[in-house]
Symmetry: C2
Subunit: 344 residues, 2 copies
Amino acid sequence: MAGGPGRVPVDSATRATELSDAALAGDRRALARLLTAVENRTPVAEAALRSLYPRAGRAHLVGITGPPGAGKSTLVAAMIGQLRSAGRSVAVIAVDPSSPITGGALLGDRVRMQAYASDPDVFIRSMAARGHAGGLASATGAAASVLDAAGFDLIFIETVGTGQSEVEVAAAADTTVVLEAPEMGDEVQAIKAGLLEVADLVVVNKGDRPGAQRTAAQLRAMLVTVPRAGRDGRDARDATDDRPRPKQPEVLITTASSGDGVPALLAALDRHRAAMAGGPSTPARLARAEAQVWAILGDRLRAQLHDENRSGLTSEVMAAVAEHRLDPYSAADRLLRDIVAGRA
Amino acid sequence: MAGGPGRVPVDSATRATELSDAALAGDRRALARLLTAVENRTPVAEAALRSLYPRAGRAHLVGITGPPGAGKSTLVAAMIGQLRSAGRSVAVIAVDPSSPITGGALLGDRVRMQAYASDPDVFIRSMAARGHAGGLASATGAAASVLDAAGFDLIFIETVGTGQSEVEVAAAADTTVVLEAPEMGDEVQAIKAGLLEVADLVVVNKGDRPGAQRTAAQLRAMLVTVPRAGRDGRDARDATDDRPRPKQPEVLITTASSGDGVPALLAALDRHRAAMAGGPSTPARLARAEAQVWAILGDRLRAQLHDENRSGLTSEVMAAVAEHRLDPYSAADRLLRDIVAGRA
């Protein structure tokens, strides 16, 4: 259970300092490399985050989630346009449901954001949803801290709101925007109901479609009866999360393709941000902090289980569980006993 | 780091024995209660799993995943019909993307399965996707072990294949079926590319639609070039997972609504199962075992962090991270040092 401070190898620490200094000075390639290190959880990332983390905490993190086809990327692109006109800098972490292996086919709509490729105050980063054993929430939280330290005013975290991890990621932002579109199928309806629980703001996009006003009215009616979920995705049966829903989320209508309603949405984001300005340790920020600390604890434990003295035992125990010769509780206890004994 | 065997309270152990005995004797209400305990990770669940786990390992676990609207539930219902005609028992764990709070609105199509409500050899269970901090894969793995011990021949694990956790769950089954439907939007296309990596069998459902044959041909062409992902969702860049893709997954066409192609699919499932019969410790079974052991290790660590002597420190440290006064690595190291010191 060691892994104390000072464990970061010296060359990683040097590289981290170089990249961090360059990124803070505005070097976008250095920033991109730092984010790659963070995604891959390398020693460089650990060293960089140890120094950058205390510089973060000023950006407004906005989660944007909703079912496939609701128009998330188009809306983000529209917000970027208006934010840039107001002189504010924006970063986007687009959590990509596609494969890290097949090359991370970017979602079609995201191409529109490339209009900002040459703007130094806009930074867009795709992050693969798969392959984050330590938790997608911790990976995006760490990436957001780097972008935050680099000085971006707003950081959008865009996820497809149909998976557990993906919704938790969006819900751990300071402000969570749930996007809906009029007229969707049954399965999507069920997804919607789940999403509403994490919303600070609900946006009916594609507002130029006939059903938009009716959908907004239905959502307003639904929201009266939906209790608030834990910001970290725990459900309300969890006794540690009995915070009442602070207030009903506003329901707004936008038409991302034309920009209609986008200024009102940005104003609502600012209001939500101002309302929580009182205390920095909001439930969302605590959830982000816990996700990151928890992932690191998991890494430390994993490193112990796979270190050279113990990896043989670990493999043996896991195989015994896979073959149903040992139950998983006895297996966990056996591994923990060995770690504790190795330490005594 | 304690939590050794014998920690299960005596009354939980008694209750677990009662429920397990009844469930093994065919009492479906007892089985449902056990599964609820497993979902909530109670001491009863721990005691029951310790005794039931060694009795499991015989069922064929089949993951069914695909984008919303591909027809997963209809296909599962069609398979149940044909399996029952052949005298085989079936359980279904339907991972529900909707809320645990709003009452878990069942997906529309799933209603069809209620035709089997009175059949003792069919058992259908919804499981909420949200609220499994320790991992959805571990929760479904544990539930599958209970159903396996209870003697079901096949266990279907149905998930909406758009989220990281949900795909990992399906991919940790013995056989993973990825469902596709002809003609879907851009975002769904990207999801499809990610899903194909975990497929043992690819099924184009809605085979009566005009585009079905063309979609199947495109998928066969795509699959020639798609590398195999780690069964536990790690991506291929992970050096520990360099297993080659054993073979190209078959691409089948079904029309779940009419039952066309379903016998061929069931035959393909049996073939896949027979092909891996050589060794019980397959990568998928190892992934399931690891997910369960890992979740339990996490629970033990979490219990340590929140026990009466340490919860004050833990809260303090997490708040410091949330307020960016402390970086998450230093926080993790601080908590670990305290746990180790408390043990010395």
